[in-house]
């Protein structure tokens, strides 16, 4: 059987090679790199927390690929059959099983070697395999924090961060203000990728959102699987950008499949049902932030601290300058292309100077604040807090949201409004 083993191995590795572009190198590296070093590290990190269905499946896939790499095809088949027993609707496992069986009858040329098989569906499964194995290999280090999570509110027990490039959703716990890794899951996003602009574009929005409610399985069609958590797309910033559409949810998958392809939804984020249920335990509608990014940048604890201290200082300076009734100092915190309450920077400045002139004193208190870096090309941070405003002639309390951008090296407010 040696020739056939060689055929399978060459075929699979070749297929990774032939699929072109960067994914290929990753595929090769991934196949080669699965053996040895990476797996134990990942397993170790994962031992500390509950095991997701994603982790179990990826651990099994890694074992199968390693068996194939080392020509232990019988062992690979046993492993894939065990995986199918554990996850009877796992299509990727059936594809690999088909390959391993077909390789016993004929030399095969690549992953998904079914003669005349539907190319689109096969490449979907191949993409899923690559994404899963890459994520399995590149687990975040325990001392790394996603750059987006600058500050969570005390009542936000968890935050969700999505990395569409890696087809991955991460859950972080609020550990006395410091984000702590809880779990990560394979996820599906829009057929046409990211950067949602309009209704029906089948893209997933990038941004900082909040879960608004929970829709139980019983109220939903089968396609949503175990349930759904709608998020508040489009948010203020999206509207300001002219982004449209609605109904972006986190949800499960239909009963007839364990997972969907990396790019398969109409813009929603879909998890396998087991993962969705596990994640759901950490979701608190109305509170839990969901940050959807194209790519996560990871910070060391030190860098994370430095970055958030700089921002907290900018916010504090803005608050004090507002209290000082020094309009020039106060207005120096606003960006040139600022807009707020429908006003341009010029209109805003005139109005604030007018108000400040009529006041004897102002007191501003800020509390219950969260602060998230905003995904996208621009450097931007969104801060939401409870604002208690008191002055000689007016008082009010409100929930406020400020968008800050970097302008001339310092943080400036580009948008201000009620949250």
């Amino acid at each position: 059987m040696n020739k056939q083993r060689a055929h399978l191995k060459a075929g699979w590795t070749g297929a990774m090679q032939a699929s072109g572009t960067g994914a290929v190198l990753a595929g090769l590296a991934l196949l080669a790199g699965l053996a040895g070093l990476t797996a134990p590290v990942a397993a170790q990190a994962q031992n500390l927390v509950a095991r997701s269905a994603s982790y179990e499946v990826e651990d099994a896939l890694a074992g199968i690929f390693k068996a194939i790499e080392t020509n232990k095809l019988d062992q690979a088949l046993e492993k894939v059959e065990a995986l199918i027993t554990a996850r009877p609707n796992y299509r990727l496992a059936y594809l690999i099983k088909g390959d391993l069986l077909l390789a016993r009858a004929f030399p095969i040329r690549g992953m998904g070697a079914m003669p005349g098989g539907p190319a689109g569906k096969i490449s979907d499964l191949r993409d899923e395999a690559l994404q899963r194995l890459r994520a399995y290999r590149e687990k975040p280090q325990a001392d790394q924090i996603p750059r987006y999570l600058l500050q969570m509110r005390p009542d936000q027990k968890h935050a969700v961060v999505v990395d569409t490039k890696k087809s991955r959703l991460y859950v972080y716990a609020n550990d006395n203000g410091r984000p702590r890794f809880v779990a990560d899951y394979y996820m599906t996003h829009g057929k046409n990728g990211i950067d949602k602009m309009r209704e029906g574009d089948q893209k997933t929005p990038l941004g900082v959102y909040y879960v608004t409610s929970h829709l139980p399985k019983a109220k939903l069609a089968d396609i949503y699987g175990a349930g759904a958590f709608p998020i508040n797309y489009p948010n203020d910033w999206d509207k300001r950008q002219g982004r449209g559409g609605h109904g972006i949810w986190l949800h499960g998958v239909p009963a007839d499949t364990f997972a969907r392809a990396p790019l398969a939804s109409d813009g929603c984020v879909a998890l396998s049902n087991a993962d969705f249920e596990m994640m759901g335990k950490n979701i608190d509608p109305g509170r839990t932030p969901v940050i959807i990014s194209d790519q996560i940048e990871w910070l060391s604890l030190d860098n994370w601290n430095t970055e958030r201290q700089a921002l907290l200082a900018a916010v504090e300076k803005w608050r004090r300058d507002w209290e000082s009734r020094d309009s020039d100092a106060y207005l120096s915190h606003y960006a040139r292309n600022f807009s707020g309450d429908g006003m341009s920077l010029k209109q805003w400045s005139e109005r604030k100077r007018q108000i400040n002139a009529g006041k004897e004193w102002i007191k501003v208190q800020i509390g219950n604040m969260d602060m998230f870096r905003y995904p996208g090309r621009e450097e931007m941070v969104v801060i939401t807090f409870q604002q208690d405003y008191q002055s000689s002639n007016l008082s009010n309390a409100m929930k406020k949201r400020l968008y800050w951008i970097k302008e001339g090296g310092s943080w400036k407010i580009v948008d201000e409004g009620a949250a």
């Binding site: 056939q4 299509r91 099983k97 088909g98 390959d99 077909l102 030399p107 079914m114």
Partner: protein
């Protein structure tokens, strides 16, 4: 489930039918009896064959040859469950014999029980690692299982899962002692020789050589090489088509009417709009009417129209005690359930 004499392994198997049946027989009297039953079976007289074999087994209930034949007869009669019972019991009583495992697998596969078929074939190979027929059948079963897995992977509508895989039934039981001694008298070790009109002598394979492992380049007689690098249109079936053509010619030359007629598929169009039954009767009369027939096939060229259709063109040198003719012949072959059968026959260029 039928014998499918036209199937690639079946064709080879036919040539050796009963040639070595006598190994397990202690006396020539028994051999005669078993041989008679075999003849009846081959002639399609299944009811008489069953009567005879039952009578034979009444005196020798443990006899492997007799039970094996009974399994074959029941298979011919489409009594699949009974046949499975017979072969299954044979595997228990004679676990060292690969043939009952093979035939059990063929019957399971016919029922769509491919996992059971796989297990039985793996047992056949475990007992005899170089058993080429079982290897071939196992290849087909693996391909079938793969196709089922792919259907699930790609949520296909199992349209191709309904097509049954036709595996090769083994029709003779070869004593393990004999097999071990000669090292290569299994059915599949026989390569059909173009133009040969008599049953060829078994070609021997190096003992213990894995027929599948030898596949791609090394064309051992045992390997019906599944065209390694270029599956193209024919899917590596050229040798299978050639085997089917040669088996057809050989059956004709042996005046084996059932074997000859079985080479024609159910879609075969008889010439001049004649009915199938009428045409068959005519052929039977012609063939049995000759006391000697010699058919040689030469310059065989095979073209694939698609994966399941092949056109075989060759020179046909026909000689009998009545007449002789050398002519161009074209056979349009169609692959149905894994075996190649004639759907059209034309003489002349």
């Amino acid at each position: 489930m039928t014998f499918s004499p036209g199937s690639r392994s079946g064709a080879r198997a036919l040539r050796l039918v009963f040639a070595t049946l006598f190994v397990l027989a202690a006396t020539s009297a028994r051999a005669d009896e078993v041989g008679d039953i075999g003849k009846l079976l081959r002639a399609g007289q299944n009811d008489q064959a069953l009567q005879k074999v039952d009578a034979y087994l009444a005196t020798k209930p443990k006899d492997a040859q007799g039970r094996f034949l009974k399994g074959l007869i029941l298979t011919e009669q489409n009594k699949t469950a009974d046949a499975i019972g017979i072969f299954s019991k044979l595997t228990e009583d004679y676990p060292e014999l690969p043939e009952p495992y093979n035939n059990l697998a063929v019957l399971y596969a016919g029922q769509g029980q491919y996992e059971k078929a796989r297990q039985a074939l793996e047992m056949a190979i475990r007992t005899h690692p170089s058993y080429a027929t079982a290897h071939e059948n196992l290849g087909d079963v693996y391909a079938k299982l793969a196709s089922q897995a792919y259907d699930k992977a790609l949520s296909l509508d199992s349209s191709n899962a309904t097509a049954q895989t036709k595996l090769a039934m083994v029709k003779e039981l070869i004593g393990s002692g004999n097999r071990a001694r000669t090292g290569g008298t299994q059915t599949a070790a026989v390569k059909p020789l173009p133009g040969s009109s008599t049953a060829p002598a078994p070609a021997s394979t190096p003992p213990g050589k894995d027929a599948k492992g030898a596949a791609p380049a090394a064309a051992t007689p045992a390997a019906p090489a599944p065209a390694p690098a270029a599956p193209a249109k024919g899917g590596g079936d050229e040798s299978a088509v050639a085997a089917a053509v040669n088996a057809w010619a050989a059956a004709w030359a042996k005046r084996d009417v059932p074997g000859y007629l079985a080479a024609y598929g159910k879609d075969f169009k008889a010439p001049k709009g004649e009915s199938r039954a009428g045409w068959e009767a005519g052929r039977k009369q012609r063939i049995e009417g000759a006391s000697r027939i010699d058919v040689k096939v030469s310059n065989l060229k095979i073209d694939f129209k698609d994966a399941n259709t092949a056109v075989a063109k060759f020179r046909q040198d026909y000689k009998s005690n009545v007449t002789s003719a050398n002519s161009a012949k074209t056979l349009v072959m169609s692959k149905a359930g894994g075996s190649w059968q004639i759907v059209e026959e034309r003489s002349g260029g």
